[in-house]
Homo-oligomer: 229 residues x 2
DNA sequence: TAGATTGTTAATCGATTAACAATC
DNA sequence: TAGATTGTTAATCGATTAACAATC
């Protein structure tokens, strides 16, 4: 369990390992090899070993990984049981969807309140979470020690809401609005960039339809098509 | 406008440039420099020039980029005006939110129908889009030449829905379910991995609180903290 | 022309993969 | 012990950045 320096991309893969392992049948074998994990997740097997070695020592030569230990180590590293107090800003369709989603608690995200400019919404609750006026955002964050802010507001409102969160002492922001946000050093803004994802899908369709018009693409080309896997 | 080989990461940044440029004031100067764009989006300015050069020749030494030309070139490359016929599978909270979101059309994503297993939902419409039984998914895709499938189903249902889309000839899948999906070569599965994003946020909070317990992190450290920007 | 700004070629950096050593 | 599988060190690959050449 070295855990010294972990790369950003490794960190992003860890939850995938964890959820894959948790989905394994209860009555299956207690061990699993890096090769098996790699095949299931379509990753390189050396990469799997390296990723896992950075947070766990559950791997034993000839045996593989003891699944239960590996799950425990991944959960420990990813902060299972940690409670990150969270607010959500912007109770539109997407905000409502995220407010209603129960699965975030597993990852330590506990939404304690939502905020909106719409006075018609203020005062009601969604999924037992109160909707408060956005003016109270900084003071609420300060008073409740809020650690994460989720932004599901329109692009035009995002920067000011981000600043309000920062003013309230929030140091981690999950931004679903389609804009780049400025925040001081020490505050992490993680952007969920839907447009980027769509660009990849759309480019894939465009380039593949051109290619397949001439000759069907083989699997080698398909993999290498855009920067490789 | 070289457009020969474009890297995956460049492709992902292009929509950000486009939306930033479109948000610029109408009555502002007609030109902008790479340095100005880089500062606004917190990117390297060489990176901005390289990215833009791969899809546009709107840059002129001493002048910068003619904004209107640059927008046109970006739109053209990203396939503005293209209509990718899309279905959405899984009309839960998230599915509803995405169905109701009008902004996707700008990126060529046109949802023509939604599918669900819940017979109570089947027959109704959301945002003028009919909800159909999931059994009809492959035939509907085949008959309507569906190009993109959006998966907002629970993890347990995702692989079979993915296979149904593939059976219907869909070659681009946007997966919001928290599982890795298997698809044949030539079919792109783009996963929107919320758990990965949460892992980054949560790790940031964990490591920063440890550090700041001893000594406040400076901005240099903050940037380098996890694999650099 | 001189200066500012773009585009490109070479160097660096980070992540992945291949080769190998360690070990149960 | 021999063999399978892990972990690590070195090589490769891709993306970013620095240095420079081109040009309006």
């Amino acid at each position: 369990m070295a855990s010294g320096n972990i790369s950003r991309l490794t960190l992003q893969r860890l939850p995938t390992y964890l959820s894959y392992l948790k989905g394994l049948p209860e009555d299956g074998p207690p061990n699993i090899s890096a090769a098996a994990i790699a095949a299931a997740l379509e990753l390189g097997e050396v990469q799997v070993r390296k990723d896992l070695a950075s947070v766990s020592d559950a791997g034993k030569p000839k045996i593989g990984y003891l699944i239960s230990d590996l799950i425990q180590d991944l959960e420990h590293f990813l902060g299972s049981g940690v409670c990150n107090r969270t607010v959500l800003v912007g109770v539109g369709n997407l905000g409502l969807a995220l407010l209603s989603y129960a699965g975030f608690a597993e990852y330590g995200l506990h939404i304690v309140a939502a905020f909106d400019v719409n006075t018609a919404l203020v005062g009601s609750t969604v999924n037992q979470k109160p909707i408060l006026p956005v003016e109270e955002l900084p003071s609420f964050c300060r008073e409740h020690g809020i650690q994460i802010g989720v932004l599901t507001v329109p692009a035009a409102a995002a920067q000011s809401c981000c600043s309000a969160l920062v003013a309230g002492g929030v140091r981690a922001i999950w931004n679903f609005a389609p804009v780049h946000l400025q925040a001081p050093p020490g505050v992490l803004v993680q952007r969920e960039n839907m447009a980027s994802s769509l660009a990849l899908l759309s480019y894939h369709l465009k380039t593949q339809s051109i290619t397949s018009g001439k000759i069907e693409m083989n699997s080698r080309q398909a993999e290498k098509e855009i920067g490789g896997k």
